[in-house]
């Protein structure tokens, strides 16, 4: 039975192979422990807030990455995030729907919307798909801005309730942190399992050679829709989670600039790897917060980093990590 470890170039002795098999598990356990302990290390609420943003952005980026696994880049991802947020916020405000259910509802509705939209939009590939998702995102923003009876337009929605688990409200940054961490682990685990399964096999086939995939019995349009629906559904749910944290929502909360930000995170982290979105979010989320003093500078740096990564590290930070890891492990075992 083949080891399910991500494509390690299996050379060298069995001792090395055994170490390789355990290394990811140990690393993940260590990271989790660190993540759980994090809030104890700092009393500064700002860092907890930052951690929450990183976790949420990771989910946005990873969900975008899921759509990217079938070779499609969506420039309208923020619209799905926003739509999920509005659905849950409005459900909570108008129908007193518990936020935790609102999040589930947002995910399901956006997933379904993506299925319907995807069947039409995914017929387009490459550049055309990017353009049409960009335009669709713009339509959505316009609608939200002007459908004032429902969304309160530019004024936005205030007083959105926090998530409540068994009567315990997640009304502080710290409490939300543990929720966000759990959601993050859930999403990342799900996407990892998905990509390791036959679904992942189908997605990658489509991205690498769409004609051959179809001729190998992989129903391309079906699996593209699946990827799009799952990615958009997760994004919608995460948007809902975010809105019950920030507790305010307006058309400015998630815009085209956010769609660009998610793409930036994905590309910087590494768009061909699952943890690319996480790395990108980890690296880029603190930037605007740290550079808050310099108006406009933070965005310029974002753009410059994106450009630099595209030019010099096209496969993102993950590829840098992989080559470092390869160097380290190659010097150990017998060759």
């Amino acid at each position: 039975m083949e080891g399910q470890v991500a494509s390690a170039v299996g050379q060298g002795g069995s001792r090395l192979a055994a170490r390789r098999r355990f290394l990811p598990g140990v690393a993940i356990a260590a990271l989790l422990a660190a993540a759980l302990a994090l809030p104890q290390l700092t009393a500064n609420q700002f860092y907890v807030h930052l951690a929450n943003l990183i976790l949420l952005n990771s989910i946005f980026a990873v969900s975008l990455g899921l759509i990217a696994t079938v070779g499609q880049i969506s420039l309208g991802h923020a619209a799905f995030v926003a739509a999920g947020a509005y659905i849950s916020a409005l459900a909570a405000l108008s129908f007193k729907l518990p936020p935790i259910l609102g999040i589930v509802l947002a995910g399901l509705v956006m997933g379904l919307a993506a299925v319907l939209l995807g069947k039409i939009l995914l017929r387009l590939r490459g550049v055309y798909f990017v353009l049409v998702t960009f335009l669709a995102g713009q339509v959505f923003t316009l609608v939200v801005l002007n459908w004032e009876s429902v969304t309160h337009g530019a004024n936005g929605l205030i007083g959105i309730p926090a998530i409540s688990l068994f009567g315990f409200p997640l009304s502080t940054r710290l409490r939300f942190y543990y929720f966000a961490l759990a959601a993050f682990v859930l999403v990342v685990t799900f996407v990892w399992a998905l990509m390791r399964s036959q679904y992942g096999r189908a997605f990658r086939s489509i991205a690498e050679n769409i004609r051959l995939a179809e001729s190998s019995g992989i129903d391309v349009s079906h699996y593209q829709v699946v990827a799009f629906a799952l990615g958009s559904g997760i994004a919608g749910a995460a948007g809902a989670a975010m809105v019950h944290y920030v507790r305010f929502l307006s058309p400015d909360s998630f815009t085209f600039h956010d769609s660009v930000a998610y793409i930036t995170m994905l590309v910087v982290g590494g768009r061909h790897s699952m943890i690319g979105g996480v790395l990108g979010a980890l690296f880029l989320t603190p930037l605007p917060e740290l550079l808050r003093g310099f108006v406009g500078a933070q965005h310029i740096i974002y753009g410059a980093i994106l450009l630099a990564v595209l030019m010099f590290i096209p496969n993102g930070l993950v590829s840098v990590g992989k080559s470092l890891l390869a160097k380290v492990t190659d010097t150990e075992g017998p060759e």
Binding site: I73, I300, G303, L307
Partner: protein, 289 residues
Amino acid sequence: MDYSILLAQAALNGLVIGAMYMLMAVGFTLVFGIMRVVNFAHGEFYMLGAFTGFFTYVHWEMPFVVCLAIAALTSGVLGMLVERTLIQPFRSDEMSGMIATLAISVIIQNGAVMLWGPVPRAMPDIVTGTLTIGPFSFSWSRLVVIAAAALIFIAFWLFMQRTRLGRAMRAVAQDTETALIQGIRVNYIYPLAFGMSVALAALAGALMGPVFSVSPFVGLTPMLKAFVVVILGGLGSVPGAVVGGLMLGMIESFTATMFGSLVSDILQLLLVILILLVRPAGLLGQREA
């Protein structure tokens, strides 16, 4: 309510907007046709043109024609530099190139915010007064914009059709490999085409400065419209960009007059999505492989 006057007004505005869209779209589609690059930074060059026009006309008080020339030249040169350094590395990777232009647009837009601040500035009309024909009156400034855009396009058209360089560009757009074999220096054509394309955008920005205001955020909408036009007319088709631009201008003007600008915007975007699905090559577009 005199509908004929309303319609005439809408028609004039439609031509004005259409002229701008046409200039934006022609440049955008030129770059796509020749280099297969979707330039997300196209709108930012429009914005730079608007600012250049503003500073040269209002602060330095130069004749407007000179202002236009300066706007075109500065943007053109900047465009050539950008192509050579930032876009050329992505020649073999369409998607990465597109994301790169996204990054460039972010940098330019926020650079403008840092340099000039986010507050919009008003630019006075180039010409005052109106032309009156019977019951209809048209403002001269609008007519001048239309005339200028027409002249610019004619100059562009003559360049593409009559000059060696222009023919070389068309050859590259049709078939890069064959053009290379024929000895056309593709490495010179690309920056030149890009420079020309953004120069057209800058001219549009300078011309429209008095019509819309001048701010760092003024480039997003024209770029959006350029997309719409180019998709209507076909990615890579210059005639399509002209027809599409004028058509969109008229559609926008009339629907805005009848239903308001929001509905007009939504309708336009839905129209595009529809066309993309039914006929992705656009009304006059080239067939994609």
